[in-house]
Symmetry: C2
Subunit: 712 residues, 2 copies
C-alpha cells in the first residue's frame, strides 16, 4: 500500500475502533468517540475497553479481536507501554491504519525512542500505517469525519468544506489555525496532524493533498524537514499543478531549534538555506498563523494575477494613502491609468474625489452605492491593471449591498479583486461574511490586503515562468583523485577546464626548474607558495607581488620557501606559482559550494570584503542552476549595485559572472556527496565584455568513507 | 480661551445646536441628531432648519439666532457656501465652539482654499474654535456624547470607556479603528477627528489628552505634521508623564505623499527624518491599524517592563518554538531561569514537559488546570524575568477558569503578563473576553504578543533613562560672515576652533607666498586647489598627493592652478592648500547637517564609500545631541562593525568620533536657520586613542533673506 493510498484510507474509514476509550467524554480518551457521535459518523463505531460493556448505545468490546466486523481505522488512546500488544491485535485483526494519540515516545528520551523504533518496525512488518504518535488526529472536512480530540472538533455548527488541505506537525497549532480560518469562512478539504510522525510525515500528507482533486491550496506547518529532496519534488509539483504550497516553518531561531528538538525530536535545517530553497522552488512562505490564514484566503479564490500593477478604490483618503505607503516597499505598482479609463472614472465619482490612482470616491458613496460598483466595473476590463483593491468602511445595509455587488462582479472577471473592510463585526461583519462566503478575499487592514496581492502576484509569476530546469552539460568528467585537499593550482586547472579564466602561470617546482623557466616568465608576476599545509597564504607570508625580472623572481622564490619553512617546518611544498599580474579594474566576488544535509549541494555567492564580513550579504541556491537563476542570485545581493555600476564605477561583466556560477554549480552537482567545501575567492569581475578571472581557490574533499555514504 | 480649554468645551457640551439638520436620520445631516438621541444625551438639543417646525419631540429653529437658550457647541452640516453666514450667526449668539462636517474647502482647490482662509479669519476674530471642516466629529467616550455621523456611533451597545485617547486626522480610519478596538474591549476616554484641521489640529488634541487625567495612553493618526517643534515637546511630555504616545503616520511613500496632498492639503515630511525623530524622542510607532490596536492594548494595562528578559509558558511545543523564533529578531531574550526556579517549575509540570524556557507544560494541563496557574505563580516573583508570556489553546469552561485565574494573578504583580490565545471565538472567545475586561493584554498570535512585549520594554526603558538633555556649551561664537559658501580652509578653521583635529596645513596664496614658505613645509604633503567655484576637486584635477620636496611643491602648485583654469577660466582661486599627509590607518566617515522644514537642524552621519552610495546606511538625529545619542547613532549603522573592528581591523576611536558629532551638532544649533547644508567628508577615524581628523568640508549658507525668516 503506497503512502497516498494509506492516507486516503485514513481519511475515509467506514468502520472505526477506539481502543482505550473512556466513558468520560470530556477526557482525551473519551473525546474521539464523542466527536464521531457529534458529527454523526455514518459508519461503524467500535469502542474497545474491557472495563465497559456498553458506551451510550454502542457495544464496547474487551479487545480489538472481539469486534465482529472489519475495522478500517483504529484510534489508539492507551499508554505507550501497551502499544506493542495492541499492534499485535491489529495485525491479527488485519487492521491496516492506526492513529496513535499517546505521548511517551521519542520526545521523552532514550527509552521512549527505543519503544518508538520497535513500534515502527512491528508496524512495517505487519503492513500497518501509523499516524502519530503524540498527535491530536485528523479531520476529513468534506465528509465531516473527525478522528481525534481537538477542541476544534467540538463545534456544534459543522465544518465548512472547501479547497484547502492542511498538514501540521503540531496538533495544537494546526487545529487552532484551522478553527480561526473557519471563522473567516475558509473551507478545507482535510486537516492532518502528524505529531512525532514516525511513519506518515507532513510531506507525505502534502504529497497526498497536491494530488487530491478536491484540494487546490496546500498548507503545511513544519518543524523539521523530513526529506529535502521530497520537499523540492513537491514544490515542483505545486508549480506544475498551479496549486500553491504554503509553508509555515518553525525553529528558525537558535532557541527555537533547541525547543524543536526537545519537542518532536526533529532536526531543523539552517533558516537561510530554507529561505533560499523556498525562493528557488516557489514555496509560499507564511511568517505566522495570521499570515497563513491570510494566504489561504487569497489563494483559495483560485485566481491568478498577471503582474504587480494594482489599482485601489476607496471611500477614505486615508486608506488610499495607506495602500500607497504599503505598496512601495512590497514592490507593487499603483499603476497610472490610461487617460480614457481615468476619464471614465472621473465621470462616475464626485468632483472633489480623485480619479488618480489611489482612487478616492469619497464619502459621497454613502449616499450613492453605484459610485462604488460603477467604478469597479469601469476597471475590470482595463488591461493595464492586474489586480483591484476595494476598500470600504461602510456597514449596515449599504455595506451589505455593496458587498453583494462586489461578489457578483468578482464572478464575471478573471482579474483578482481583493477587499479591505476596516470596521467592527457589529457594523461591517455581515458584509464581510457575504464576501467570504463568495470566496472573495477580504481583510480588515490595508496592509494585509496589499501583502496578499503581492504573494498572489509572486506565485502567479512563478507558475507562468517557463524556465527550463538546469542540467549538467555532461562535459564535466569526474576527477579520479577527489580526496584530501585541492590547493590553488589543482583547483585552477579544474576551473580552467570548466571554461573559467585563470591567470597565466607557471608552478616552479624547485630551484632547477626555476633556472629553466625564469627567462620565459611574462613579467610582472605575482608569486605564491603552494602547500596543502598553508591554507591562508598571508599567515605564512608566502605571497610576493609585482616581481619584475628574473633576479627579483629568484629572490621571491627563496623568500617564500624560507617563510613557509618558518611558518611550518613540516609543510609539504608543491612549489611557487608565478602568475601574471592582472591589472584591470575589477569587483571582487566569492563563489562557494557546500553540502547541505537536507538539500544536497548548494552554491553560494557574494561580493568580497565588507559585504561578506560586515553585511553577510550572500545568496544561496541549490545546484545546479540556470543562467536565469544565477542572475537572480546576483540581483538579490545588496552589493549588486557595485556590479551594475554605481556612481563612478563602470558596469561589470555580469554575463561572464553568471556563466561562471552556472558552471561551478554543475561541478558541484557532478561531485555531489564528495565535496565538503569549495571556495573560489576572489573571483575578479572585470568591465562588461572583459570577463572574469579566478584568482584563488580551494576544495576540501570528504573523507572516502563519508563520501561513499553520501554519494548518490 | 486656550486650545486646551476649547477642546475641553467641545468634549463636554451641555447644549448643542445642529445646523442644517435633516429629518432623514439615515442621511449625513440627520445622523448627528439621531446619535445624540440614541446615546441619551442629557443636555439640550437644538435642531436648526427653516424647513421644519419639529423633529421628533424637539422644536426645530429657523436659525441659530432663534434658539432661546445658550449653545455650547454648534454642529454645522450645511454647504461650504453658507459657512460665512452661519459663522456670523454663531458670533451673534456667542457660540464659541463649532464642528464643521462639510467638505468643499482646501481639498477641492484654490477657491475652496480661499474660502477656508476667510472662514478661519472670521472665526479667529470672533473667538470661535473650529473642529474640521471635512470631519466626522468627535466622541466623549466617558460621558457617551457622540458629536457627528460615524457609523461607529450607531452601536446599540453603548461605548466602553477607558484610558486611551485617540486623535485622528482621518475620520473613516479613526472611527473604524476605534470600533475595532472596542470589539477587543479596549476602553477610550475620547476620540477626536480633525479633518482639514484649519484650527484645531491633531497635535492640539494630543496635547489635551496628555494632560487629561482620565487618559493614560494617547494615540494619533497623522497625515502631516502641523508643527515639528510641538511634536517634540509632546514627545518629551509623554516621557515625563510616562504616558505613551503612539503614532500612526501616513504618507510615507512617494505616491502616498501625493495622495496626502490632494486629500487634506497637508505636507508630509520625509519618512527617514520622522523615524529618526520618533526614535530620538521616544514616540511609539504603529505600522498599521492592527498594530495600533495591539499597542493600545498592551499600554492601556499601565504596567512597565524592566527589561527584555521574557519567560514563556505554553501548552503547545509549537507555540514555544514560535515565540523563540520571534524573540530573537525582536531583541527579546528568552532568559535562562535560575536553577532553583527551574526546579520549582519541574515539580509542577509533567515529566515529559520542559521546564527550560520556553516552558512547555504539555496538554496534561487540559486535565489539571493548576499546572498552568501554579507555573505562572512560580514565576511572578522571579527577579531574572521582566515579562511573562502565557500561551494557551484551551477553550470552553477550562479555558475560562484559567483566564480568570490569570487575571487574578495579574492583579497581584507589577510584572507584565501578556497572553496568547490561539483559537476561535466560538471556543476560546469567552476566555479572551475575561482577560480583556480585566485589561490583561491578550493576542491571537505569538508574533503579536512578542511585538507588544518588545514595544512595552522599549518604552519603559526610554522612560526610565535619565538622560540629560543636550545643550550648547556656549563656547561657539556666532561667526560674522555666515553667507555664501565656506570652502575647505574656512570650514577647517571653524572645526579646529570646535576642537576637532584638522591636518596641519598652509594656504599658499600666490607664487611669492610659495617662495616664502616652501622651505618650511613639513613634507610629504597633499596639495589641493581652493576655490568656491570648484566644489568637487577631483573634477578639476586639483589635488596632488605625496609631494616630497620644494621642487615637487612648485610643480604641483603650477599644475593645480592651470588645471583649475582649464576647468573653469572664471574661477576665483583662493590658493593652494599644502597639508600634512596623515598616513595612519583609518575608517572614513561623513558627518552632515541639514535643516528640516518641520524639525529644524538635523545631524546626519554614516560611513563613507559604498556604505552611503550603495547601502544608504545613515543615521539621523535632531541637533543638538548628547554623547549618548551620538553613540546610539553610530550603533545604528550597519557599518558600525567596521568602527568596532571586524576580522583583522582594529577598534577605532569611537569616543573621539562621538565628541566630534556632539560638537558639530552644537554648531548646527548655533547656526539654526542659516545653514543650508554642511558636509564634513571624509572624517577619518583612527585607532582607539588616536582621535579623528576632518580631511575636507563645505558649508553652504542660506541666502540672507531666507536666513532671516528661518532663524529664531
Amino acid at each position: 500500500m503506497s503512502k497516498r493510498e494509506a492516507i486516503e484510507r485514513l481519511l475515509n474509514p467506514e468502520s472505526i475502533a477506539i481502543v482505550g476509550v473512556s466513558k468520560d467524554f470530556t477526557s482525551i480518551s473519551g473525546k474521539p468517540m464523542k466527536n464521531l457521535i457529534r458529527h454523526q459518523f455514518q459508519g461503524q463505531i467500535y469502542p474497545v475497553n474491557p472495563k465497559y460493556e456498553k458506551i451510550e448505545d454502542f457495544t464496547c468490546y474487551p479487545s480489538l479481536i472481539d469486534i465482529p466486523g472489519e475495522v478500517d481505522v483504529a484510534l489508539i488512546a492507551v499508554s505507550s507501554k501497551r502499544m506493542m500488544q495492541i499492534l499485535s491485535e491489529c495485525e491479527q485483526k488485519n487492521i491496516r491504519s492506526v492513529i496513535l494519540f499517546g505521548s511517551g515516545f521519542a520526545e521523552t528520551g532514550e527509552e521512549g525512542e527505543r519503544l518508538q523504533e520497535e513500534v515502527l518496525e512491528k508496524a512495517k512488518k505487519a503492513g500497518i500505517t501509523i499516524l502519530g504518535p503524540n498527535c491530536i488526529g485528523l479531520l476529513n472536512v468534506k465528509k465531516s469525519i473527525p478522528l481525534g480530540f481537538s477542541t476544534s472538533f467540538e463545534t456544534e455548527e459543522g465544518f465548512l468544506s472547501g479547497n484547502v488541505g492542511f498538514a501540521s506537525q503540531s496538533g495544537a497549532l494546526g487545529f487552532s489555525l484551522f478553527g480561526l480560518a473557519q471563522e473567516e469562512n475558509i473551507g478545507f478539504s482535510q486537516v492532518i496532524n502528524t505529531g512525532n510522525q514516525i511513519d506518515l510525515h507532513t510531506l507525505d500528507c502534502i504529497d497526498y493533498m497536491l494530488e487530491d482533486e478536491g484540494t487546490d491550496v496546500v498548507a503545511g506547518y513544519l518543524e523539521g524537514i523530513p526529506d529535502g529532496e521530497m520537499l523540492i519534488r513537491l514544490a515542483k509539483r505545486s508549480k506544475a499543478l498551479k496549486k500553491p504550497l504554503i509553508v509555515l516553518k518553525a525553529g528558525r531561531s537558535e532557541i527555537g531549534k533547541k525547543a524543536a528538538m526537545s519537542h518532536t525530536a526533529s532536526l531543523t535545517g539552517s533558516d537561510e538555506t530554507f529561505q533560499a530553497i523556498a525562493k528557488q522552488y516557489g514555496l509560499v512562505i507564511a511568517n505566522d498563523v495570521d499570515d497563513m490564514i491570510d494566504l489561504m484566503k487569497v489563494f483559495s479564490r483560485g485566481k491568478q494575477s498577471n503582474g504587480n500593477r494594482v489599482v485601489t478604490i476607496s471611500n477614505s483618503g486615508a486608506a488610499g494613502i495607506a495602500m500607497a505607503d504599503y505598496s512601495e516597499p512590497l514592490g507593487l505598482e499603483l499603476v497610472r491609468l490610461p487617460n480614457e479609463t481615468q476619464a471614465k472614472v472621473e465621470e462616475i465619482i464626485p468632483p472633489y474625489g480623485s480619479a488618480l490612482n489611489p482612487i478616492d470616491i469619497t464619502a459621497q458613496a454613502l449616499k450613492e452605492q453605484h459610485i462604488f460598483t460603477d467604478t469597479l466595473e469601469a476597471l475590470i476590463n482595463e488591461d493595464e491593471v492586474d489586480a483591484i483593491v476595494v476598500q470600504t468602511t461602510f456597514g449596515g445595509e449599504l455595506g451589505q449591498k455593496i458587498c453583494k455587488k462586489i461578489a457578483e462582479i468578482d464572478k464575471t472577471t478573471e482579474k483578482p479583486i481583493v477587499v479591505t473592510i476596516t470596521g467592527t463585526t457589529e457594523i461591517t461583519g455581515e458584509g464581510r461574511t457575504i464576501l467570504e462566503k463568495a470566496s472573495v478575499p477580504v481583510y480588515t487592514t490595508s496592509y494585509k490586503t496589499m501583502v496578499a496581492i503581492k504573494q498572489l502576484a509572486d506565485f502567479s509569476r512563478f507558475c507562468l515562468s517557463h524556465e527550463e530546469e538546469a542540467h549538467t552539460h555532461g562535459q564535466v568528467g569526474k576527477s579520479e583523485d577527489t580526496s584530501g585537499i585541492w590547493t590553488e593550482v589543482r583547483v585552477k586547472k579544474e576551473l580552467s577546464s570548466l571554461g573559467i579564466r585563470i591567470p597565466q602561470g607557471t608552478l616552479i617546482k624547485n630551484r632547477e626548474h626555476l633556472q629553466e623557466v625564469k627567462a620565459n616568465i611574462p613579467y610582472p608576476v605575482v608569486c605564491k607558495g603552494i602547500s596543502k599545509d598553508v591554507l591562508h597564504k598571508t599567515d605564512a607570508d608566502s605571497v610576493k607581488v609585482n616581481i619584475k625580472n628574473p633576479a627579483e623572481l629568484e629572490e621571491a622564490y627563496e623568500s617564500i620557501i624560507s617563510s613557509i619553512g618558518n611558518y611550518n617546518p613540516d609543510a609539504n611544498i608543491d612549489g611557487v606559482l608565478a602568475e601574471e599580474m592582472i591589472q584591470d579594474e575589477s569587483v571582487e566576488m566569492f563563489i562557494g559550494v557546500k553540502e547541505d544535509p537536507q538539500f544536497g549541494p548548494l552554491i553560494v555567492c557574494g561580493l568580497g570584503g565588507i559585504f561578506v564580513e560586515v553585511l553577510k550579504d550572500i545568496s544561496i541556491r541549490r545546484a545546479p542552476i540556470t543562467d536565469k537563476e544565477a542572475f537572480a542570485m546576483l540581483e538579490e545581493l545588496k552589493g549588486y549595485l557595485l556590479l551594475k555600476g554605481v556612481r563612478g564605477g563602470s558596469k561589470r561583466d555580469i554575463q561572464a559572472l553568471t556563466e561562471a556560477l552556472v558552471r561551478i554549480s554543475q561541478f558541484a552537482l557532478t561531485h555531489h556527496g564528495r565535496i565538503q567545501e569549495m571556495d573560489i575567492n576572489p573571483l575578479w569581475v572585470f568591465e562588461e565584455g572583459k570577463g572574469v578571472a579566478a584568482l584563488d581557490g580551494i576544495i576540501v574533499w570528504k573523507k572516502n568513507e563519508e563520501a561513499v555514504v553520501n554519494a548518490k
